[in-house]
Amino acid sequence: MTAKYAYYPGCSLHSTGSEYDVSFRAVCKKLGISIDEIKGWICCGTSPAHSSSKLLSLALPFENLCLAEAMGLKDVVAPCASCFARLKTAAYEAKEDPKIAEQISEALDKPLPKGMNVVSPLEIFCNRPDISKAPTTPLPGLKVACYYGCLLTRPSKIMQFDECEYPMAMDTILRDMGITTLDWSYKTECCGGALAMTRTDVVIKLTHDILEEAKAVGANAIAVACPLCHVNLDTRQEEVEAEYGVKYDLPVFYFTELMALALGVRADELGLQKHFVSTETLLSGV
């Protein structure tokens, strides 16, 4: 029997990144992976919380780990890279520092569950034996640059995810799906994250550098595993093009969307029409 995962979607997967939610569920269904959404989950607090209060930034994610445990589940899957990092950091800090663990417990007014295991979908899919036998639909025209961003791998001491400067998990999975992925040097560069809302100029520069590099190595698509990376690379791509006088037309996919397509899920079931950069021309042969 395979393990069942408590699923923490986080705020973005219920709104701006709903395509990630839809495609993640579709892939789990195709691969027979059992997930159960955490009932009554709350926001992990993300950057505004850890910039403002250490205790708050640990208590909010821990509330969700408590809810998962109440469902009888120890393994929590968080597709959003930021949620993943915050949940994992909370579990790590509480384990390392008994004083902070006590304060978190006081803030939540309940005992903290021990031995909670937070994983990214990449880790689940990477460890599936025989996954390379699953794809049914070839996607031969794609040349994908896998963009991991910051928080999947960093800080490495806490995340313990793949090789922190040059991860391969997403590449391995997509290659198992029969999709070509490319070597490139911007896998874990930062897109500027939440600065998009306040210092858009910084995000425009950083995303320009990433798009430029992806284009330079010959990619015709980018794959991401973070809703914020997706917003910055996809919805702001037109702004980058206008600012720098260039044209990229680089569709940005959640890696789960590409997996779902390879596993035979129809494109119109995945919400691809929500992307700003059209995926139609690239996928027209599929």
Binding site: C11, S12, H14, S15, T16, S18, G40, W41, I42, C43, G45, T46, S47, P48, A49, H50, S51, S52, S53, K54, L55, L56, A59, L60, E63, Q103, E106, A107, L108, D109, C150, L151, T153, R154, P155, S156, K157, C164, E189, C190, G192, G193, A194, L195, M197, T198, R199, T200, D201, V202, L206, T235, R236, E239, Q273, K274, F276
Partner: protein, 187 residues
Amino acid sequence: MTESTTATISQSGLAEAVFEESGQNVNLCYQCMKCAAGCPISYAMDYKPAQLIHALRLGMDDLVLNSKTMWLCAACETCTTRCPQEVDVAKVMDAVKIIAVRRGIKPAIREVGCFNRAALANIKKMGRMYEVGMIVGLKMRTLALFKDMKLGMKMFMKGKLKLLPSFTGARRTWRIFQRVKTIEKKD
């Protein structure tokens, strides 16, 4: 000639406060500049991360607290991951922000301070981030009313923005915020 034995352990007031807030000892830094070299945003900062750490060690508290550096930090954790002395530089950035706000110093990048407050106010009330509400809150604070208007409209048309908040867990979340405040006051 007598050599001083105390010079290496002196600690400025702010460096001490940073240590208490984050457990990070900035005196471990030997200025290799890896944090500054790897920082994707250092080009926009007034002081590079390594310079800010150095200023902390020198006791230049006012310069540090009024710097733009920590407010521009995107928390990408590159510095933290690469520091050979295992100084968690990103945690130092958080600690300096927290201390600055506690001491009533206005963030040098005003919009980022506004964003943090708008986001937390939203989470506290809603339990889950309600993006439309958060954006309105941010606009009220920054008065940049028309920023990203076109982008927002397009996101709305594409069905990327949720119209109504969920309020799931709102009361529980509000209580966590309250208890955290009480515990922090006690400390």
